[in-house]
Subunit: 242 residues, 2 copies
């Protein structure tokens, strides 16, 4: 791979000369995503991908400069699911809410996203499309461009950060290899001890009295609550009141 100095998005898929490649980057990416979805991100190895495609491991390096490139491609590929973001409707609040929920759904479909996205700027073409559409929803509001990008960044930050919290336990359980009940049983004595020690009265109230953590849709309700407050904050600071 002689053009490793270039970025993967800017590298031609097929060489000018020579025989035609038998796979495509998209094929390889799709196989990798399938593995990460079903077996977890820690099961994703180049050898595993090669086996899935029925090729030799070293062949993959004809398409990708490194595993890092593959991870970049995976992140950008899932950003294009559902055929790209919807067009702005004029209701900025509804549009942003829709984008946030779509983003959340995507992360839930691919929990490995959260760990990959950390430390990896979203510069793929599909991610850029998503950002453009988010900006478009804000365009009619009269913010200047600096505020607009800040709003988009903040929304993005909330969605990603919230999803990380939501999926943390679920992912820990999955990685541990045991069932949810066994995982709980392993952690219960420790948490009991903390609560019983009495130095965390409010946390104890959360564990004992709170209804939300025990509800089936607790995460979704918390997400909506946080999101609406965020939108409230911007609505209260619109330069042009509708």
């Amino acid at each position: 791979m002689d053009d490793a100095h270039t970025v993967v998005w800017n590298r031609p898929e097929r060489a000018a000369k020579g025989p035609a490649p038998s796979r495509t980057r998209a094929e390889i990416t799709a196989a990798a995503i399938a593995i990460a979805d079903t077996e977890g991100i820690e099961a994703l190895s180049m050898r595993r991908v090669a086996k899935e495609l029925g090729t030799g491991t070293a062949s993959l390096y004809r398409y990708l400069a490194s595993k890092d490139d593959l991870l970049d491609l995976m992140l950008d590929a899932v950003a294009a699911e559902d055929g790209g973001p919807p067009a702005p409707t004029g209701d900025w609040r509804g549009d942003l809410r829709t984008l946030a929920y779509r983003s959340r759904a995507t992360i839930h479909r691919h929990p490995w996203m959260t760990s990959l996205a950390a430390g990896r700027p979203s510069l793929g073409p599909n991610s850029l499309d998503a950002t453009e559409h988010a900006l478009a929803a804000l365009d009619p509001l009269g913010f200047d461009i600096d505020v607009m990008i800040t709003v988009v960044n903040t929304l993005h930050a909330f969605v990603r950060g919230y999803a990380i919290g939501e999926l943390a336990q679920q992912e820990a359980v999955r990685r541990s290899g045991v069932g949810n009940q066994e995982w709980m049983d392993a952690h219960a004595p420790y948490l009991d001890k903390v609560v019983r020690a009495g130095r965390h009265p409010l946390l104890a109230r959360v564990i004992r009295d709170a209804e939300l953590p025990h509800a089936a849709d607790s995460a979704e309700r918390g997400f909506r609550l946080g999101l609406e407050r965020l939108l409230d904050g911007w609505e209260a600071n619109l330069p042009i009141r509708p």
Copy 2:
């Protein structure tokens, strides 16, 4: 490690019988944090930690059931920096702002946190302390416990998510091994092509016209802006108006 079924926080540090261990979990954790800070999280291996401490690699497994345990300990250790969170002052807005800024500073000091925190619930004693203090700041406001924990979760989500975005490029540059300029040079042709293609007019405005991304304190100003809007959103929904 026969009690691997237990959680690391709940495992006794020293055995009842036998010779005294020559290191402590805290020592090992500190060494690991130092390596991750200076050489990056991908340089953190059990062998590297052992070398740093001058021990054999296998000895570490007398203190930790797995590398995963070590990562958990690292995350909780940094949560205790600066001697724990400050006591509530009565100004809930200021208190939450302080907590958010402290959290951001910690992440900046340890950029590897973002990738570790994904998929790992924060159940360590120091993390629980931090959550307790955040709840305490909200206690006088009259929210019920469900809303309180939602507010804390949302704040946490915003801070973590924003930091991920802030550090993404910086981490990508570091991991690539080349300097910032070379990294920029490698990405510029691709971004130029995207802008020139004309299908992202708002993104083009951000890249060309926005002042914020070029300012030295851009990330900090964006963080403050997002945080204040979030606080605005809650202030507008207080059950008891002060």
